[in-house]
């Protein structure tokens, strides 16, 4: 298969996994930060936001130190499960997940905070259990805001470059994602390949952003 399509397929796979992980992590963290109060909540929020402001290469270096052959977590994974994440597409998933995480949990937190707590109280008095309230009241009302963040996180994961290159490297057909392939193509002077890759990337990003724009939080629109 053409190198561009291979890279696109890999990018989509990595971004899809990262988005699935962030959907769970982002909703969980966003809800926790929005609905509970505990000491250090603001500090936790700040730490979780770090991947958004730190250079991806720095983040990649952290991951390399942590997950690498000499890293504490890397050694543990190797010894107990025989898993090595460095230079694998799963490693790229972890890098993309962390980089995109703030874009998912922040809107999720805001969306949960925007849900009127009185509606949850009303459901409580009507006899509905806490877990059912989450699925019947809180989540449906916060859903659009969450989804907008999830789509942004997907695009961010799709375009991830710095941390991915540090952790997963650039093995064609194995860990070479679209954005890494663009860099390699330009480095090698293959302008034709680069143009094709850039065009594909731009189109995918525009489509997703249009979808995200349609879902921007606002007035509830009925089906």
């Amino acid at each position: 298969m053409d190198i561009a399509w291979t890279a696109l397929a890999l990018s989509l796979k990595v971004a899809a996994w990262a988005t699935a992980l962030n959907l769970l992590l982002g909703i969980g963290t966003g809800y926790l930060l929005a609905r509970t109060r505990f000491p250090g909540r603001d500090l936790l929020d700040a730490i979780l936001t770090l991947p958004m402001v730190m250079p991806p290469t720095v983040l990649g270096y952290y991951l390399l130190v942590l997950l690498g052959r000499r890293g504490t977590f890397g050694i543990w994974l190797q010894e107990h499960f025989g898993i090595n994440l460095i230079f694998t597409w799963q490693g790229a998933v972890i890098a993309a997940t962390i980089v995109a995480f703030p874009l998912v949990f922040k809107p999720a937190r805001a969306a949960f905070e925007a849900v009127d707590g009185q509606l949850e109280q009303a459901a409580r008095v009507l006899g509905i259990s806490e877990l059912a309230i989450f699925f019947r009241v809180t989540l449906p009302l916060a859903w659009r805001g969450i989804l907008a963040g999830v789509l942004l996180g997907f695009v961010r994961a799709l375009g991830e470059f710095g941390a991915t290159l540090m952790v997963a490297g650039s093995i064609p057909g194995k860990t070479q994602t679209l954005s890494v392939a663009v860099y390699e193509a330009v480095q090698a002077g293959q302008d034709e390949v680069a143009n094709k890759l850039v065009l594909i990337t731009s189109l995918v990003c525009i489509v997703v952003l249009l979808a995200a724009g349609k879902l921007a939080p606002g007035r509830i629109v009925h089906k």
Binding site: V125, L126, I128, L131, F135, P140, I220
Partner: protein, 232 residues
Amino acid sequence: MQLDLDIRATLRSGKRSFDLHVQCTSASQRIAVYGPSGAGKSMTLKAIAGLFTPDAGHIRLNGRTLFDSKAGINLAPQQRNVAYLFQDYALFPHLTVRQNVGFGLARGWFNPRAREKLAKVEHWLGAFGLQELAHQYPDELSGGQRQRVALARALVAEPAALLLDEPFAALDPALRVSMRLELSQWQQRLGVPMILITHDPEDARILGEHVLYLRDGRIDTVADNQHEVKIG
């Protein structure tokens, strides 16, 4: 209705603190807690519903203990079998009128479906003249219609008591008068006991059989059938 209330709570916000100590027993079907804003009316009503936990005391409704700090009893709001009418009605904006009314009857993880017609729900929609509006969403309704939906939603589970938080504050004066009469008639027809909190003397006069005057977190006077009685 047998209401036995004795609750204490202290709330602090910065340097200010507020002491609530409400003690009363009543056998009336129509209790009105009347007082200026900030007197602790909402807190008292929320304590009965289980939405606010007092520091100490007890709450008994029809012989059932809902809260007793000494015995370590504090039933969750879900277990109290009371209905609560919020000041701005707290209708679920993502559900239709029919789904809102049927909300408490669906106990699982899913909301009632928009097309599902339960006999009980249809009965209350009919009783409140809401059948024409059954497929509409709360933001498409007028204030009076919203209140009827909230009442239907509250009554469909046949609660032991109906708690009303300033039920007419959000309505314009003309509508307030007619809704007040409507609520009064409904209460008499259904015989459902109600506890109402209000800062409007007209509400207390028309809907209150037993009126507790609350001021600065304490019951100041109790009026029974318009005979005022001072308590110590």
